[in-house]
């Protein structure tokens, strides 16, 4: 029995001095005195508790496998050839293997977020104590941790409470990882269910991390007017020493900012971030700069902009140290998860570390104490900056042309480029002195460097591209709204009316990474398209940065053009990756706020509610990571459809609905118990969109839900039809599947649609109180 978990319950105790009845003692742990919500059926679900729900969804949206690789080499029986129905030495077929990889990817992602949160929580408890209160939005938020409450039944009130929540998550991740061992789970659908399970846990892991950091670091709290912060390489003042933090865990950045402020040098420094650390840094410190997504790492370093590079965790190029060495920029690794081979100097005197880095005696150090990281980074930056004279490894224009001339047009680069960019053609022009094609590539290139690796001529292709785009690069001076965190209860209440009255057609969440097929502009265009149409547009992570990187004809960024609230036409940045939890959280809160459904340990009922009622769609246009897979899986289990960009097909499978199979679209009307066919709403749970245009049309269709009021449905259809005509050139061919009563027909399209309905022999149906769970059928009370 550890003190942490001391819990005594005495039903009755008689002693000489007193009689005690129903006494409950809890020490160092919350008794949840204010949490009187009844416990639902599934608190802390095990791997199989929600399996039936998963199978309900997976039967409606069958996995469609697109194996990226049909070999397995996970154990020494392999490699096993799994093509054409063949099974591996352990008996596994390609479907189970593909879904096993999905479950594994989701587990890695979930482990990543949860370990990040674990580190945050440990660190913050150590510094601020277990009883530090959680506060994510003051008076405007009643349900502080909707996912945690829903899944675990715990209502966390202090940092210490988060411990128990994480312990649950960690156990589940271990269970799922175990299932992926050779000779364990045999069935593809069961692997899918396990992926859903670990995805759900991932959302808890994210929620824990974000509410901990919001509470302690006093980030914007559910604030629609969170400050606008600078975004882009051009926003960095290059005359000052620059500290560049890469990764996702804000703790070392906080150490740097605190130290700089303490020494009153923060104004004479630039502290900039790349990837989600940048978001979280600016939630803490509005003078911080967001440089951009992971794909900006090479360009920033090669341009010599960073005087010190600080690495925390996740999505950091593993060759950053080599790249930094080329520009003489010292590196500080600050996370146990990414030690970069450096010597651990955590316990060394600061002066010695600073000297070693400044003199160049060592290229980098590992420091696991964030306060020490802060002091070392600031002192080194101040000293190194004047000496380094901004060593720049970008070639001159002449060198670009000279390098281009060595190109043999072998096309290896283009073949290896994940985006199939026409590098050889750009180099051909460059060799003749015309850099315009290279400059165009700057806009689209995701900075992966694969072209360089492939080039037999050893041309530093990415550097040539950056040089050609240098002017544009230094003009990247835009704005991002600092991550606002959760959506407040009041905001959710305020949109109830407009949604049922059809004024808000849906909610679109643009999340995830920057593996874009053609630059970040697509994200901006999609966000703007839907915000202009009065959808609610939520953003996070690299997508939130991409959206802020462009301006409209009036010169305004998307965050200036649209309000930052959860409202019609609102464009809200929730924050970093872990802040994605607030998007799922908002969906969960809808059920609690409007229908007063209990959340506590009541997963299945709430997911059923969200799946059938809430017109929300997630888009991860540039998803690349295992974390993105885990986030997606968490949404799938809630029944929220997710779309990914073209690279998303490498996640190996889609979850597709079949609109040609009418019986797949039956729901139960909870009012009558009768089966009602509601058509393919939503049509898919997970699918890939190949082009921006296809994606926009898909989003408009995927916000359709069985419960839509006729006003809501008419509005959704107006946009779907309009977008389909605009981008595909024709009327969609499935309109008749979405019209339940004549009132659903958008009034401006009446005669046109009536004709279609006649052609399809359409029949009127009812609008049900939809559910997939027979137990939700209500009995008329007498």
């Amino acid at each position: 029995m550890t003190a942490k978990n001391l819990h005594i319950k005495i039903d009755e105790m008689k002693t000489n001095s007193g009689l005690i009845k129903n006494l409950e003692l809890s020490i160092g742990k919350v008794v949840n005195e204010n949490y009187n919500e009844p416990m639902g059926p599934t608190p802390m679900p095990s791997v199989t508790t929600l399996r039936d729900w998963d199978l309900t969804l997976l039967n409606k949206y069958k996995p469609f496998y697109m194996p990226d690789c049909d070999l397995c080499c996970l154990c020494t029986f392999g490699k096993c050839d799994l093509t054409a129905g063949k099974r591996g030495a352990c008996g596994l077929d390609i479907a189970a293997q593909s879904s096993r990889i999905v479950a594994l990817a989701c587990s890695i992602g979930a482990a990543c977020h949860s370990a990040h949160s674990r580190h945050l929580v440990h660190h913050l408890i150590e510094k601020y104590g277990r009883r530090y209160p959680l506060d994510v939005g003051g008076l405007n938020i009643k349900v502080e941790a909707p996912i945690t409450r829903l899944v675990t039944g715990i209502k966390p009130e202090t940092l210490g409470d988060l411990d128990d929540v994480l312990a649950y998550v960690e156990e589940q991740i271990t269970q799922i990882l175990a299932a992926a061992h050779t000779g364990q789970e045999a069935n593809a659908l069961d692997f899918e269910s396990k992926a859903f399970h670990v995805g759900m846990c991932d959302h808890i892991g994210m929620e824990v991390g974000d509410i901990a950091q919001i509470s302690v670091f006093n980030y914007p709290k559910a604030d629609p007017e969170a400050p606008l912060v600078k975004l882009g390489i051009g926003s960095v003042d290059r005359t000052k020493p620059v500290i560049m933090c890469i990764g996702h865990n804000v703790v070392p950045s906080v150490g740097i900012i605190d130290y700089a402020k303490e020494q009153k040098v923060d104004e004479s420094l630039e502290i900039v971030g790349l990837c989600c650390t940048a978001h979280d840094m600016t939630r803490y410190y509005t003078r911080g700069r967001i440089v951009g997504p992971i794909s900006w790492e090479l360009r920033f370093i090669r341009a010599g902009l960073a005087d010190v590079v600080v690495l925390d965790e996740q999505c950091i190029r593993t060759d950053v140290a080599d790249e930094a060495a080329k520009v003489n920029a010292p590196v500080i690794a600050a996370s146990e998860k990414n030690c970069v081979g450096f010597k651990n100097r955590t316990n060394d005197p600061t002066d010695a570390i600073v000297d070693d880095l400044v003199s160049g005696k060592v290229l980098g150090v590992l420091i696991l104490d964030p306060d020490k990281v802060g002091e070392v980074a600031v002192r080194v930056a101040m000293k190194v900056a004047p000496m380094r004279k901004r060593k720049n490894v970008l070639p001159t224009v002449e060198e670009v042309i000279a390098a281009a001339k060595t190109c043999t047009q072998c096309k290896q680069c283009q073949r290896n480029c994940p985006q199939d960019y026409a590098v050889p053609a750009a180099l051909k022009d460059a060799a003749a002195g015309d850099l315009s094609k290279l400059t165009d590539l700057y806009e689209y290139c995701i900075g992966c460097g694969r072209c360089e690796q492939a080039c037999p001529q050893k041309i530093v292709i990415h550097s040539l591209i950056v040089k050609a785009g240098e002017k544009a690069m230094y003009c990247e001076d835009n704005l991002c709204r600092s991550g606002r965190g959760a959506v407040s209860d009041v905001e959710i209440r305020s949109v109830g009316g407009p949604i049922v009255l059809g004024e808000i057609p849906g909610i679109v969440a643009l999340v995830g990474c920057s593996n874009y097929p053609k630059g970040g502009k697509d994200v901006y265009d999609i966000a703007r398209e839907f915000a202009s149409r009065r959808y609610i547009v939520a953003l996070s992570g690299c997508s939130a940065m991409a959206a802020g990187s462009y301006r409209n004809s009036e010169g305004k960024t998307i965050y200036e053009e649209f309000p930052g609230g959860f409202e019609a036409g609102g464009v809200l940045n929730v924050g970093s990756c872990v802040a994605n939890s607030h998007i799922a959280g908002a969906a969960i809160k809808v059920a609690n706020i409007f229908a007063k459904r209990n959340l506590r340990g009541n997963y299945e009922e709430i997911a059923d509610y969200i799946h059938n009622r809430l017109g929300a769609v997630g888009l991860a246009w540039g998803a690349y990571s295992q974390k993105a897979a885990a986030i997606g899986a968490g949404f799938w289990r809630l029944g929220v459809p997710v779309i990914v960009g073209p690279h998303g097909s490498k996640y190996r499978r889609m979850l597709l609905g079949r609109k040609d199979v009418p019986e797949n679209w039956n729901v139960i009307d909870a009012r009558t118990g009768e089966t009602v066919n509601v058509g393919p709403s939503p049509e898919h749970l997970f699918n890939v969109a190949e082009t921006k245009e296809e994606c926009i049309v898909q989003i408009a269709k995927l916000v359709i839900r069985p419960n839509d009021t006729w006003k809501g449905r008419a509005g959704k259809l107006s946009h779907y039809i309009d977008l389909h005509k605009r981008y595909m050139g024709v009327m969609p061919d499935d309109i008749h599947l979405y019209i339940r009563t004549p009132a659903d027909i958008p009034i401006t399209m009446k005669d046109e649609i009536q004709k279609i309905l006649e052609e399809h022999n359409w029949k009127e149906t009812t609008i049900p109180d939809p559910t997939l769970l027979p137990r939700m059928v209500r009995k008329m009370k007498e």
Binding site: L23, I27, D489, G496, F594, A595, N707, D722, T748, K750
Partner: protein, 461 residues
């Protein structure tokens, strides 16, 4: 879109959010720089209307100078066997949506306050005459409101003619409002029910009467009537009022039946004019919450956008949570701001005489509807931050509720209080059954603690 094939620009819901900036506008009609502007709908006898006619009095769009601002009156005249003047407001309010459906045509505000902009691009595409605007309006009205059998539309830009029409319009709005507010629940045969919110709150039913606006504030009795007549099977439907069961509380047999049927028996009895016992249910999107404050036996009201905590220490979000979800909660009531303007506003509970605390923003909004003798006696957040302040304030101002306190002694007892620790100690040794436990920083909660002292018992609850 075939319905608007002959219209030079697109027409669709998707243009609703479109904004036209000054630089992009061909002309502005109405707006802050123009004194006389209006839009009005009138229900007329059948024989006075020529169906489909569009009349333009004064210069047409193509005759107006680019970049200028001009007066405009829009007169919609409708006739139909089932139409009555009570629906004029409903017809008129559709103009906002319909005009905004037109690509490159922006409409803001309503009544005598309209502001319209025509975009240059649409003008160049051929949207250069009111004739086209009239055609679009005609088709939309006839399609969406089949109870309109005949419709005639007039646009007035002639400065010499608009003046008298403008004065007429003002008088009509005035008369219409007075009539709408004067309409009594017991003068109409039907109320209307709305279940749009069942899409998210499956057991909620709004009962909309002339004297009780919908919770969301978006649907009036007249709106309900129009919707129900267009689509009687739709989510907004007629509720025959039935017998008056309890006039004071506002209980009607028809309402009870409808509520029972539509809530699947969850709600069987609704009292429309009280927050107690069987109050109207609350879905989730209500504009304000009324909450009973037992310590002073009065009501507090808080609206959705109120920041901070109310006089009982709870913020809107918590109070809203106590009442939402389509349930009847004694002493809590989600409602629209408009309901506060009704003479039946909690009539059974004493109406405004029972209200003790409202945010000043709300007070300002509805001040004309609060009886003069009570308005100064209702506290706002400036007057009272807590219950003690409130008591002092009410006594000082001699709020009518104070008289009740003295007759009934202490105000109603508090509801079950939340658990408070019965014992708090920084260190607390317990010895029992031969071993000793020392608790540090312990709080002990118990549903019941009985402490024996000699022979006499003390119970603490």
């Amino acid at each position: 879109m075939s319905m608007f094939k002959d219209i030079p620009v697109e027409v669709g819901v998707i243009f609703e959010g479109e904004r036209i900036r000054r630089n992009d506008m061909q002309v502005e009609l109405g707006g802050p720089k123009v004194d006389q502007k209006f839009e009005i709908a009138k229900v007329k006898p059948m024989d006075q209307i020529e169906d489909g006619k569009v009349v333009i009095v004064g210069p047409d769009l193509k005759d107006l100078k680019e970049g200028g601002e001009y007066p405009l009156g829009i007169l919609i005249e409708a006739a139909g066997a089932q139409l009555d003047p009570g629906l004029e407001g409903v017809i008129e309010r559709r103009l906002h949506g319909y005009l905004n459906y037109i690509e490159g045509f922006m409409h803001l505000n309503q009544r005598y306050d309209i502001q319209i902009r025509l975009g240059k691009k649409s003008f160049q595409k051929g949207l250069n005459t009111f004739e086209i605007i009239g055609k679009v309006l005609y088709r939309l009205f006839k399609n969406e409101l089949p109870i309109i059998e005949k419709l005639q539309i007039t646009f007035i830009t002639d400065i010499s003619k608009i003046g008298s029409l403008y004065t007429d319009a003002l008088a009509s709005y005035e008369a219409r409002d007075a009539k709408a507010r004067g309409l009594k629940d017991n003068e109409v045969p039907e109320f209307y029910g709305c279940v749009l919110c069942q899409s998210f709150a499956p057991s909620h039913v709004c009962v909309i009467t002339p004297q009780r606006y919908s919770n969301c504030g978006a649907i009036s009795w007249h709106d309900g009537k129009a919707s129900a007549s267009i689509d009687p099977k739709g989510p907004i439907f007629a509720i025959p009022r039935g017998d008056v069961i309890n006039e004071e509380k506002g209980e009607f047999s028809g309402v009870n039946e409808a509520a029972k049927k539509r809530s699947m028996g969850e709600v069987t009895k609704v009292w429309l004019y009280t927050a107690f016992d069987h109050p109207h249910t609350s879905c989730g999107c209500f504009e304000a919450v009324t909450f009973y404050i037992p310590e002073v036996d009065g009501f507090g009201i808080v609206h959705r956008t109120f920041k901070g905590v109310t006089v009982n220490g709870l913020p809107f979000s918590t109070l809203a949570d106590s009442t939402a979800g389509g349930r009847q909660i004694d002493g809590f009531h989600g409602m629209s701001l408009e309901y506060m303007r009704s003479s039946k506003f909690f009539a059974a509970d004493g109406g405004w005489n029972r209200v003790v605390w409202v945010p000043k923003e709300v007070k300002e909004k509805v001040k004309d509807f609060i009886p003069k003798d009570i308005i100064g006696k209702i506290a706002t957040e400036d007057d009272a931050k807590g219950i003690d302040d409130l008591k002092t304030f009410l006594k000082e101002k001699n709020h009518p509720i104070v008289a009740k306190w003295t007759t009934e002694e202490a105000p109603a007892t508090e509801a079950e209080t939340e658990a408070t620790p019965v014992m708090t100690a920084s260190t607390l040794p317990i010895s029992a059954g031969g071993f000793k436990i020392i608790l540090t920083d312990a709080k002990i909660y118990a549903s019941k603690v009985v402490i024996k002292k000699d022979e006499s018992k003390t119970e603490k609850r």
